[in-house]
């Protein structure tokens, strides 16, 4: 992937330089170059490792899996970005996903009726539950002045405990050896689309969500108002934007998306709610990183989400075939974000000698409009 930028461009060095001067492009090149070095130092062939990674991510069942895993990643990234864009640091995506996932699972399992009815109902239930869970930290901030950053994080653990308890003591399927609910009946499972060997319909759903977000941010009053609140709360208040209500609002939206994604993970992927499964996957955190890389831009989230999903699925292939641990993909993801956040660019290296001049940098934005 890194090479594409530099090698496949048959154009002048200046064009390469221009591409490199884009911070995200540079950060990708930077991360993959460091990754190359790491693999090289461990005595493996980095070129082979990367080509296995690429192959594993985009060929055969790899492509379907990349697209499949992109669904929750993009979804959770969108949920996070909705909050970040309006200045709400919501680290509670995991909890919102878990709570929504259980609610959606229960509805899907216990509601009789045709799939056309049960599936949307489960999604709604998941969304509502996620939203309700997200409102706790939201009100904690607006009413009690407790930072969402910290309460939403702490509530992740609580969400996991509550759902675990409910499954263990109330909805346990004792025919299996896991702490798990019953299976979602065939009829209530998310259908698959006949593309790339069967990709969950949820992919279409997240694409729609992305499009909605894009339109809302670009063309609506609400989109404008949330972004103003995110950029400068005092300014927003002065402009008649009710920042407190906004905070609750975006948390509700974020929680809803989180809950829907949690539900998708059950009715479209695992088919049962297994205690802890949604947490160990780390999807909420991957989503967070994707949102950061995409600077909270919906369309960029789509791209970055596919990239990170491909990195993860390709990382497995790399481990399978090139004997390089999938942990390397984790390192690459982190490196990209570190480089972007540190605003490393090609230009920075060139200007290094003179040093950054005073006032060169505005504080970095969590979400730039």
């Amino acid at each position: 992937m890194a090479e594409q930028v530099t090698v496949h461009r048959p154009t002048l060095a200046s064009k390469v330089g221009a591409a490199l001067s884009h911070p995200v492009v540079f950060s990708l090149v930077f991360a993959f170059a460091l990754g190359w070095l790491i693999v090289y130092l461990t005595g493996r062939d980095p070129g082979f490792a990367y080509s296995e990674m690429l192959n594993g991510a985009v060929t055969g069942s790899g492509l379907r899996n990349t697209l499949g895993r992109a669904v929750p990643i993009i979804g959770m990234a969108l949920a996070v970005s909705v909050a970040f864009r309006s200045g709400v640091i919501n680290l509670g995506g995991e909890g919102q996903m878990v709570v929504g996932g259980l609610a959606g699972a229960l509805v899907a399992i216990y509601t009789p009726g045709p799939g056309e009815l049960v599936i949307p109902l489960a999604m709604v239930a998941g969304g509502v539950a996620g939203a309700a869970w997200a409102m706790l930290p939201a009100f904690g901030q607006t009413r009690l002045r407790l930072p969402i950053l910290i309460t939403s994080l702490l509530l992740n653990y609580v969400a996991r405990a509550i759902t675990g308890y409910l499954v263990r003591f109330h909805f346990l399927d004792d025919s299996v050896t896991l702490t798990s609910t019953r299976q979602v009946p065939e009829i209530a499972r998310m259908p698959r689309m006949p593309i790339f060997g069967g990709v969950s319909l949820s992919l279409a759903l997240v694409i729609v969500l992305v499009a909605v977000a894009w339109v809302v941010y670009g063309r609506t009053v609400s989109g404008y108002e949330t972004q103003m609140a995110g950029l400068n709360g005092r300014f927003a208040r002065y402009g008649g934007i009710q920042v407190e209500r906004q905070t609750v609002g975006v948390m509700v939206v974020a929680g809803t998306i989180g809950g829907i994604i949690g539900t998708h993970m059950i009715i479209g992927d695992a088919y049962r709610f297994i205690d802890g499964e949604l947490v160990v996957s780390g999807l909420a955190w991957t989503g967070l990183l994707v949102a950061l890389l995409a600077a909270n831009h919906p369309v960029m989230i789509l791209v970055a989400g596919l990239l990170f999903s491909g990195l993860q699925i390709g990382g497995l292939a790399m481990q399978r075939n090139a004997d390089v641990s999938w942990r390397l993909s984790q390192v690459l993801q982190a490196l990209v974000i570190v480089a972007v956040a540190s605003r490393l660019t090609f230009g920075w290296f060139k200007r290094r000698r003179t040093g950054p001049s005073e006032g060169e940098l505005e504080p970095a934005a969590v979400g730039e409009v």
């Binding site: 972004q227 300014f235 002065y238 402009g239 008649g240 006032g359 060169e360």
Partner: protein, 507 residues
Amino acid sequence: MTPALELRGITKRFPGVLANDAIDMTVRTGEIHAVVGENGAGKTTLMSILFGLFPADAGEILVRGEPVRFSSALDAIRAGLGMVHQAFRLFPTLTVADNVVFREEPTSRGLIDRSESIRRVGDVAERYGLAVDPTAVIETLPVGVLQRVEILKALYRDAQILILDEPTAVLTPQERDKLFEVIRRLRDTGRTILFITHKLGEVMSLSDRVTVLRDGRSVADLLTADTDPEEIARHMTGRDVDLDQRAPAHQPGEAVLEVTGLSATGEHGRKAFREASFEVRSGEIVGIAGIAGNGQNELIETVAGLRPPDEGSISLNGADITDAEVLTRRSAGMAYVPEDRHGVGTSHRASVWANLLVGHQRDPAFQRKGWFDLRAIRDHARSLIKTYGIRSGPIGAPVSTLSGGNLQKVVVAREMSHGAPLLIAEQPTRGLDIAAIEFIHDRLVRFRDGGGAVLMVSAELSEVLALSSRILVMFDGRIVADLDPSKVTEAGIGLYMTGAHEDGPDG
């Protein structure tokens, strides 16, 4: 005799701006040397270089004939320089003593010797007649005292050359006079003072010599005794300037804003202001004068809907808006230019158009059922930029790329463009240069003459006097006077501002 300070060919380039362009300047020992120039002329930049806060791209500095190279403020301090910054540089939660001794702390066995630092600070304060309590915490002190603390900091370090960047911008006339006394006393002890100001009157009354900067260049070096304000202004702007003040027109109409018995609570749970009652009629400018921290800001915030009132009522054009939300107030006809244009009036990282829209994002002209009419919004932004002569790049660029003056124009343009009958303007010209001030004053007057009502808060008494139809003075959270500008002087207002007239308000 070697000059205290010599600058030769100082050049400083910021991305896109040549802030200082080969500036030469000589400051003689024991003189008060004024530095003047429009906004962005490069005064602060020059002083910052002189004080080691950032390096010059070219040029050299000589202190008492010795070439010096400062890589940090510390070097400058060690060379005997002291600087009082335009925006105070104090630690709000620390005591006066801690602020003063910072980095030069007296210690015993590695620990800060508190009683010793209090004693030393008290000593210095006494020696130069700067009345300050060393144990007071900064955030509890009024601005006038803060200024003294800043000067104390320099004197504690035994500064021989003192740089003051716009020290009078926030002072009452009384405080200003006290400051001038201190400055003269310091000169008499052989110290050298560099003094930046926009107020030509101060230049004339205080300085011995004046350097004028324009567009990063030093364009004149004059003996104060040999010049006059018109000449200085001509050097500053490169053209003739009419410094005469405009006489206010006087044909007030209906009451637009009525405030009765209003009180509200401030940051630390204290009453910020009490029982404020006044009205603003169409066709008049009501000026509010007062030392910062006497409740003006909170009063305005309450009227603007950013702070909940404890009691009292506010009505706009006869409609009660006491508890109305900001947008309701705005659509009812209130416009508001806030004091803090960087933190409140604009959003640095948002685009120019987004900044020009705020407060009216829900106006039918710009949206239908929540969907923006982007064309209308852009056209509106472009027309404001044109009408108000805002120098900016594309309207999608972040507003942080604009200069301070243009930023203020963005705020003023936005607030005046919706035909609101009431304009609240807080410190509308603070820190702006003569041309920008002129522009904004002209706008305010035109607005008033068109039947608008203006409520203006300004620390600039000359501005209040020049523009207001009536002047309210606030002291300690109360409106203590309602004055006719044609019958009072700056000094007279100043007395009310310091509470000297506590028992005899005539309003």
